[in-house]
């Protein structure tokens, strides 16, 4: 530490000790402050309180906030919801139809992951299965509460996947004629 720094610290400590002790607020401080403020505009005469219920000022002024928020939320929901373009009277999909749609998506994903074997013995059956799946889906659209159609669709997809696997294996192994 240098001599110059030491002198500065000593000087600062001396000045701190020389400060006056803690001061308390004067008792008439607010009164003196109020007298120095500019005069306020006169207020309207108070309404008699016997026939009107006075609402809090905040509620009266900001009633539009929740209503506006709800409206904005509704508009936003309408704008982003996937069914915004649906007709008002469009039928709601049944549980079976939702299950069928989910099953179809999974099936398409699974079949796309398989190699497309061109084994000729399997091709007519694969085509037949695709047509049958479309036929079952059309039937399900007509009768969306028929569990046996979902079972048929499941069986058809399972068979299609199995035969696709077989066809790919046969083409790869040369087990075709």
């Amino acid at each position: 530490m240098s001599t110059h720094e030491h002198d500065s610290d000593h000087d600062l400590a001396a000045r701190l000790r020389a400060l006056p002790p803690e001061r308390s607020l004067p008792a008439d401080g607010w009164a003196r402050l109020s007298a120095q403020l500019p005069p306020r505009e006169p207020q309207a005469a108070p309404v008699p309180a016997d026939n009107v219920v006075a609402l809090p000022a905040r509620s009266r002024r900001r009633w539009w906030l929740p209503v506006g928020a709800a409206l904005a939320a509704s508009l936003a929901l309408y704008a982003v919801a996937p069914w915004r373009h649906a007709q008002p009277d469009a039928p709601v999909p049944s549980t079976l139809q939702l299950q069928a749609a989910a099953m179809t998506a999974q099936y398409q994903q699974a079949v796309a992951s398989l190699p497309a074997g061109r084994a000729p013995e399997w091709q007519p059956a694969l085509h037949e299965l695709d047509e049958s799946a479309a036929q079952i889906q059309a039937a399900l659209a007509q009768d969306p509460r028929a569990p046996h159609l979902l079972g048929q669709l499941k069986r058809t997809y399972a068979l299609r996947l199995e035969l696709t696997r077989q066809a790919a294996y046969a083409a790869e192994s040369g087990l075709t004629t």
């Binding site: 049958s132 036929q135 079952i136 007509q142 048929q152 004629t177």
Partner: protein, 293 residues
């Protein structure tokens, strides 16, 4: 003229060479009682016959380039025709003689399978486009094709047949537990007394007949667009339930009912004491139930 004669002579000279290219096989194996026989081939024909011997025999002709691969043990024999050149040249024509009480597993692609005179513990036959015909006795029978037709004249207490477009024709003593599934293939079953008869198709028509329903037995038929005909004896005891979305229902028993609003029709009735269950569901195919067998 001379030129034609020379061509004929050349062809005649080549014939023995072509014949020599085929391979004759004659294999035998002593198999323990209840053992398993497996045979796999792609093209050609497989004929299976039952015989009263303890050994199993495979004879036949392999086209040029084909090879027989075999694995043998006391309880099992496996024969597979290999096609190394990816060219079948007509495939293999095989005859398999099998003893009683064995397990028999056959697998082909386009080769047809002709099975008769067998008396086996279990039969499983798979083919893709080949036809499949099976007769004899089997403790448990499973027949699968893709487009090939199936004719099953088996005395079997358990039969399961699956095809995509192949036609199924089952009879000749089939009874007990029967399952038949197709996508577009027609199904015809003429059964004895059944404990369970389950048939499913998308568009292949269904003709079923049974001599009786075992106590507590079940018949379940499902179709999308195919017509369904079921024929049973008048004495059958079961609860009959038929549902169709747009197909007609015609039954010798019960009353067809339709909802006041909307499509569909159904029939629910009790046959005899209502012991078993018969359930038929069709989306658009017609349903006919006859009680005159």
């Amino acid at each position: 003229m001379t030129r034609s004669l020379m061509t004929c002579c050349a062809a005649l000279l080549l014939l023995p060479a072509v014949a020599l290219a085929d391979t004759q096989i004659d294999e035998r194996h002593n198999l323990a009682a209840g053992g398993r026989i497996e045979l796999s081939n792609v093209a050609g024909k497989v004929t299976v016959r039952g015989w009263d011997r303890n050994d199993v025999q495979l004879t036949g002709t392999l086209s040029d380039g084909l090879q027989l691969r075999q694995e043998k043990s006391a309880n099992r024999v496996r024969w597979e025709i290999e096609y190394p050149r990816r060219n079948n040249n007509g495939g293999a024509t095989l005859v398999l003689n099998v003893p009683r009480s064995v397990e028999l597993l056959l697998s082909t692609v386009s080769a047809s399978q002709d099975i008769s005179g067998i008396d086996v513990r279990r039969l499983q036959a798979d083919t893709v486009s080949g036809s499949l015909s099976a007769s004899g006795r089997s403790g448990d029978s499973k027949l699968n094709t893709v487009s090939g037709g199936v004719i099953a004249r088996l005395q079997t207490p358990k039969l399961d047949v699956n095809t995509v477009s192949g036609r199924i024709e089952a009879g000749g003593g089939v009874s007990g537990d029967i399952g038949a599934q197709t996508v577009s293939g027609r199904v015809e079953v003429d059964a004895g007394r059944v404990q369970r008869l389950a048939v499913e198709t998308v568009s292949g028509s269904i003709d079923l007949s049974a001599a009786g329903l075992a106590p507590g037995g079940r018949i379940n038929v499902e179709s999308v667009s195919a017509s369904v005909n079921l024929r049973l004896p008048r004495t059958v005891s079961a609860q009959l339930s038929v549902n169709s979305f747009s197909g007609s229902i015609n039954s010798d028993a019960g009353q067809v009912e339709r909802p006041r609003y909307g499509p569909g029709s159904h029939l629910d009735t009790r046959l005899g004491n209502g012991d078993g269950d018969i359930r038929i569901q069709s989306h658009s195919g017609s349903v006919r139930v006859r009680l005159d067998r």
